[in-house]
């Protein structure tokens, strides 16, 4: 019965979304504050309904109600509780439901957020957001009902794909979806601006916290997915340029461009039309990513069994929203007032260069991802575009961008001068060149690109921190003075510095992968194999073991640094009988930021065991860097100027004057 109520709640949410779309939109047209006011409660109501529906599905999973088709197909009564819960979104229907929950959540947050958004803009934004919700609710109800019942409840479920029974799955998709779907709000704001025919710095301030928030979660989601693939797939790779990875990277790249272009719009009232276009394209790429993952048109390691009819429906949503928004853009954008002009050598000029490189890089990744599809449609030839293509196109575009990054960061607004910038960065340049040479000397004979990459990373870190240091010590301030000044710097400056330094940390981690080693060996218990660097590993024992819903063969190994044992790790091959499917569990031994990575292979005909052993120096910096990037976005979100215009809390006053909450995350 509860299951049917959950289904019914989705239908109700659909009806309420229609109200959420039509009424505020009409209110904005007729300038009727009452009608516009309907948007907020409607948006909150839709969110409550879909959240309830999600709760019902979760309940069905937790109680292993196999009369529900979706639970039967993806769960198992013996599965650990955490994977029963995460299994809710480990399948098509459940993950689409999660998509909608987040979509509705963002709609509700915009509706109740107290930051300074003009009422008309807010009403139109809520209406546009509702239109997206309607499309996806229809998609759920028509093609992917998660509450479908089975006539006869089977005794046992078919279990979740074992590769998804991992803590990584608990975190990765929700983060990614919050990021993906978060850009729907930016999109809705852009559409609302076009509908109204008005866009200005207020718009940029209103939309920026949302963009930062979406970007923050997308960054974490991609990073988490990368780490998950690294340890779960057992190949030791952290990025495969797989089409589905690209699908998440594309909106991330454009979202990064969008964050930077809204700064220009806010400060200099320029790049308006471009920013609107970016907002539209970023969300379009999010939709496209969903389509590519959900339709299975691409051959990918991420591809799960899929249903082509659903693909067609998502394609229709895609065409409707991308086509519709671009048509509206073409019609309305010329009406927007042209923004200011600016000198090529200036902060805004540097941000234009940033946008230029990011947009171009995004285009090359898009070409590499879609070209095989296009070619097959036209000529029927089947090709694959792999990592060599992306390394040859994406990397050459990123290197100049990253080299220029610290220069842009210290450039003045309106009119910068190259000489002054070079002077301010002289220290950073010197430090990074010296360190590059030192690293090169220590690793002489190794790959040359690695020390250069490390040097670039150091330049990014020092160059970013440089801004805080020069601004704090400006005017010959003493140390105490400087600390006070540094504390007084705007949060957005701290955010920028943190995020940019994070990029540097990540670049060092990526550069260091050139020093990683891989060995494929066969060992018997007692054998010692050299892994890489100073590390070697001894196979102690191989034995079988039984887990809650799997059996595994475990290889126990001791890691040595030189002659000294520094730890024990296990790697295993698990077999899940419910799905008749094996998985490999890698053994990771972390030393500082480096890892020794052990991966169980297969028993050899002569009785020994095949293993893959990797040494991954500084590999953790890749993900630590992305954490700093996300942290930077989080700091920037709390900047007080995003709250300007909201009720400001007076000290020691009754709370009903309304404390200004931070822009909702």
């Amino acid at each position: 019965m509860l299951i049917e109520v959950g289904h019914f709640a989705l239908a109700l949410a659909l009806g309420l979304s229609v109200i959420q779309m039509v009424v505020p939109f009409w209110g904005a047209r007729t300038n009727d504050p009452v009608l516009m006011g309907v948007g907020a409660p409607a948006a909150v109501g839709v969110f409550a309904l879909v959240l309830f529906s999600f709760g019902v599905l979760t309940y069905a999973y937790v109680t292993s109600d196999f009369s529900v088709m979706n639970v039967y197909a993806n769960s198992h009564s013996q599965k650990p509780m955490i994977y029963k819960v995460t299994g809710v979104w480990g399948n098509h229907e459940g993950s689409m439901l999660l998509w909608i929950v987040i979509l509705a959540l963002f709609g509700a947050l915009v509706a109740i957020a107290r930051n300074a958004v003009p009422p008309k803009l807010r009403a139109n934004t809520i209406a546009v957001q509702a239109s997206v919700t309607i499309a996806f609710l229809l998609f759920m109800l028509l093609t992917s009902n998660p509450f479908e019942r089975l006539d006869q409840a089977p005794f046992e479920g078919r279990d979740l794909n074992p590769i998804l029974q991992d803590i990584g799955l608990a975190i990765h998709p929700p983060l990614l979806y919050i990021g993906y779907v978060g850009f729907s709000i930016t999109f809705a704001f852009a559409m609302a601006a076009l509908i109204e025919g008005k866009i200005d710095a207020v718009w940029a301030r209103a939309v920026r916290p949302w963009t930062l928030g979406a970007w923050l979660f997308l960054t974490l989601g991609i990073s988490m997915g990368s780490y998950w693939a690294y340890y779960e797939l057992g190949w030791g790779g952290w990025w495969f340029w797989d089409p589905v990875e690209n699908a998440s990277l594309l909106p991330w790249i454009l979202g990064t461009a969008l964050i930077h272009s809204t700064v220009v719009m806010e400060k200099r009232d320029a790049l308006k039309i471009w920013t609107i276009l970016l907002a539209i394209l970023t969300f379009s790429l999010s939709l496209m990513g969903t389509f590519l993952v959900r339709s299975g048109v691409l051959t990918s390691v991420h591809a799960f069994a899929v249903d082509p009819d659903r693909g067609m429906y998502i394609l229709a949503i895609l065409v409707f929203f991308i086509g519709g928004s671009l048509a509206l853009f073409a019609w309305r954008a010329p009406l927007l007032r042209q923004g200011g002009i600016f000198a090529p050598v200036s902060r805004e000029g540097a941000l234009v260069v940033n946008n230029l490189f990011l947009a171009t890089a995004c285009a090359t990744v898009l070409i590499g991802t879609l070209y095989p599809l296009a070619l097959e449609a036209v000529t029927g030839a089947k090709i694959s575009v792999g990592p060599p293509f992306f390394n040859a196109t994406f990397v050459p575009l990123m290197v100049p961008l990253l080299l220029l990054l610290p220069f842009g960061q210290v450039m003045a607004w309106k009119r910068g001068d190259m000489g002054g910038v070079a002077q301010r960065l002289a220290g950073a340049i010197l430090i990074s060149v010296v360190l590059t040479v030192i690293v090169y000397g220590f690793t002489y004979g190794g790959p040359v690109a690695a020390p250069l990459g490390v040097g670039l990373g150091i330049f990014l870190i020092v160059g970013s921190l440089n801004e805080v240091i020069t601004r704090a010590f400006s005017g010959g301030a003493g140390f105490g003075d400087a600390m006070r000044k540094a504390r007084g710097l705007p949060r957005s400056t701290w955010g920028t510095v943190t995020a940019h330094a994070g990029v540097g940390v990540m670049v060092i981690g990526i550069a260091a992968t050139a020093w990683s080693t891989e060995r494929i060996v066969t060992m018997r218990p007692g054998d010692v194999a050299h892994v890489g660097g100073a590390y070697s590993a001894r196979l102690d024992a191989v034995f079988p073991r039984t887990g809650p819903n799997f059996q595994e063969d475990v290889a126990q190994m001791t890691i040595f640094r030189g002659d000294r044992a520094i730890g024990q790790e296990e790697t295993s091959k698990r077999f899940f009988p419910a799905r008749n499917m094996p998985t490999t569990q890698a053994g990771l031994h972390t030393v500082g930021f480096s890892q020794v990575y052990l991966s169980f292979g297969e028993p050899q005909p002569d009785g020994s065991l095949g293993l893959r052993l990797y040494y991954k120096p500084l590999i953790l910096l890749i993900w630590i860097g992305t954490l700093f990037m996300a942290l930077g976005a989080g700091i920037a979100m709390t900047d007080r100027r995003f709250r300007v215009g909201a009720p400001v809390r007076a000290k020691r006053e009754a709370p009903q004057t309304g404390p200004a909450p931070a822009p909702a995350e």
Binding site: V301, A392, P396, S608, R612
Partner: protein, 151 residues
């Protein structure tokens, strides 16, 4: 500078970056693209020795041989023809007889396909799309049937 000149600078710089990246894309496309072919395609059209491509189909029943040193031999078939593949290294978890597989490498002088990559899949029900198409072309599998090797 006037508005016009500034715009010209912007357009000029954008043009250069776009042209360079287009050059990069075309250059990269030339060397890095790999075609997909099914065993029947090879049987019908022949092959160029040493040219890399992706070979896909089903792992033929009873064709897997293992040698010490993690060397594997198996045959990839699409129902119409089959090709012997040699691969050294660890096979993906879901590699099995009767299952869909995509391998990448080149055919050597003796007609043996030397693969350096065998692609893993996440899901036992999943059939690589190219393989599914190749099997359909040979009439081995119709859409809507359960994928071979899953039951």
């Amino acid at each position: 500078m006037t508005r016009k000149q500034r715009r010209l600078v912007l357009i000029g710089v954008s043009g250069i970056v776009l042209a360079l990246s287009l050059g990069l894309v075309l250059f990269a496309m030339r060397d890095t693209i790999v075609f997909f072919r099914a065993p029947s395609d090879i049987a019908a059209q022949g092959f160029d020795e040493g040219v890399r491509f992706r070979l896909g189909g089903l792992v033929e029943d009873g064709s897997i041989r293992r040698e010490t040193g993690q060397i594997h031999y198996f045959r990839v078939t699409d129902g119409g023809a089959s090709i012997e593949v040699r691969y050294q290294g660890l096979l993906p978890d879901l590699f099995r007889e009767g299952q869909g597989v995509v391998t990448e490498g080149a055919i050597d002088g003796s007609g043996l396909f030397r693969a350096d990559t065998v692609l893993a899949r996440h899901d036992e029900n999943y059939m690589p799309r190219e393989v599914a198409d190749a099997l359909k072309a040979q009439g081995v599998w119709q859409h809507g049937d359960p994928a071979p090797g899953t039951q």
